[in-house]
């Protein structure tokens, strides 16, 4: 396999090494290892990456290579086995439950299958983004602060769903649902946006629209966006930086222009599909 040889190579130019300029990197991951259960194989074999405070970073790689596990380790929907994840200066891996909650509300997440609460309205789903901030009685009585409600209306206008405010989430199309998912994540006022295969359940045209929206959020709100995606064309088009993963390791890290067929072979294996 060419993967091993390539993984050992120095990263292409233009990539900051982990640890350098710590203040400039809101998210630094060091030597992250994950295995599901003792004795099971390592899904992540020591990932080290650092991320700039803005821009879209795409993580590409074949299914089952640990992309999703990696992104879920960052907000600890998956518990890392070892390593360090430093977010805004704090190590997420060692946080207690309460602290984790406070960090999570600064990290928005967009899911492959949207993960909206199906029986709630679009507005209720968007306001779910404020659940880290509002007490339970407000959520129970749907008495969100007016400022939150205003922001939710603005966000729904931004994602083009201003006319769907009171519709139930299960009445929307896939693309519309993902827009609600993005609005919910942005509603958190996040310092980081994670997107786990946000376009994999969508048709090509809608996929582009969703990626455009994510790029716009990154641009206009100065939020770094970390997106798992297996569509290389989409990744090249929208990301300022591409991280290629294969079998639990980073095998490419650099700008889209530097991504050659040779790298893609290393990431995905084989070559027939490239022609």
């Amino acid at each position: 396999m060419p993967d091993g040889t390539l993984a050992g190579r120095p990263a292409p130019a233009g990539v900051a090494a982990a640890g350098a300029g710590r203040d400039a990197h809101p998210l630094v991951v060091r030597n992250l290892v994950k295995r599901y259960g003792a004795g099971r194989p390592e899904v992540l074999k020591g990932i080290s990456l650092s991320f700039e405070p803005r821009g879209v970073v795409a993580i590409i790689g074949p299914s089952g290579t640990g992309k999703s596990t990696f992104i879920r380790c960052i907000n600890r929907l998956v518990e890392p086995t070892s390593g360090e994840i430093r977010f805004m200066g704090r190590d997420i891996v060692s946080l207690g439950r309460q602290e984790l909650r406070l960090v999570r509300r600064r990290i928005g997440m967009v899911f492959q299958e949207y993960n909206l609460v199906e029986r709630l309205s679009v507005m209720e789903n968007v306001l779910c983004g404020r659940l880290g901030y509002v007490p339970a009685w407000r959520a129970w009585l749907r008495r969100y602060p007016q400022a939150d409600v205003e922001q939710a209306f603005d966000l729904l206008d931004m994602v083009g769903l201003g006319d769907f405010v009171h519709q139930r989430a299960d009445s929307l199309s896939g693309g519309q649902r993902q827009r609600v998912g993005i609005a919910r994540a942005v509603m958190q006022d996040p310092d980081l946006l994670l997107a786990d295969e946000p376009t994999s359940s969508l048709d090509p045209k809608t996929s582009v629209e969703i990626m455009e929206l994510l790029a716009r959020v990154a641009e206009q709100r100065h939020v770094p966006v970390l997106v798992n995606i297996h569509d290389v064309t989409l990744a090249r088009r929208f990301a300022g930086r591409i991280v290629g993963m294969s079998e639990g390791r980073v095998v490419y890290d650099g700008p889209p222009d530097g991504l050659e067929d040779e790298h893609l072979r290393a990431i995905y294996g084989g070559e027939d599909w490239l022609s």
Binding site: R104, R105, F111, N115, R119, L120, E124, L131, A136, A139
Partner: protein, 263 residues
Amino acid sequence: MTAASAGGDRRAFRANWPARAGLLALVLYVLYAGQILDLSWDRFVFGLDQGGRFLSRLVPPDFTRWSLLLDGLLESLQIAIIATVLGVAVSLPVGLCAARNLMPWWVSTPVRAFIAVCRSFHPIIVAIVFVKAIGFGALAGILALVVASIGFVAKLFAEAIEEISMKQVEAVRATGASFANVVTMGVLPQVLARFIGFATYQLDSNLRNSTMVGIVGGGGIGGTLFAAFQRFDYDFLCAILIAIIALIMLGELLATRLRAIFQ
């Protein structure tokens, strides 16, 4: 194949001998048990004769003591509604604590055991226990039906929660929501409609049972019913039975309406 050429006596289905043996054993046991209990044709004919005389004394129903009847009915209705409201209110947290996908095992296991105990006894037995423990009257009946409600609603509610989509819960959790908020916005919306369904079914069930707890002293129309039986007051008995049927049908109508509101 030789069987095919021999004239087509191949079998499409295999004979299930254990099932046949089991069925035979069941039929034999029913005959045996009937023998033991002295169920004979003569006994049946005697019963029919008795039943005919009983039926003729039921009609016409006697509604002259309607105020007694109404008092009993209203008390039954009150018992049913109070017991349902209390039972359903308690079932919400109890069911939540019994859901194994939300709670650690050391919470869910004892709560599930508690629900199992609530379910073990027929409401009439629980009613007898409460009548003995706290005395005659509606309170004993209410408590008995509260126990029955918890046994039913909390169990089904817990099962409904165990079937929810954890993806939706995960998304709410990822926003940094507290556990209370995760339950409020991530779990309850998924099960609310079914919970309302269970609650209205329980209201229906409690209405029927509330007419019965009176037989053992738990309040309601049951006491009047039992007294009418004891005194061979069959025409009044018939009036009571008709009134109960009306009450149950009214309850069912109400329950259907409630379910429709919450779809």
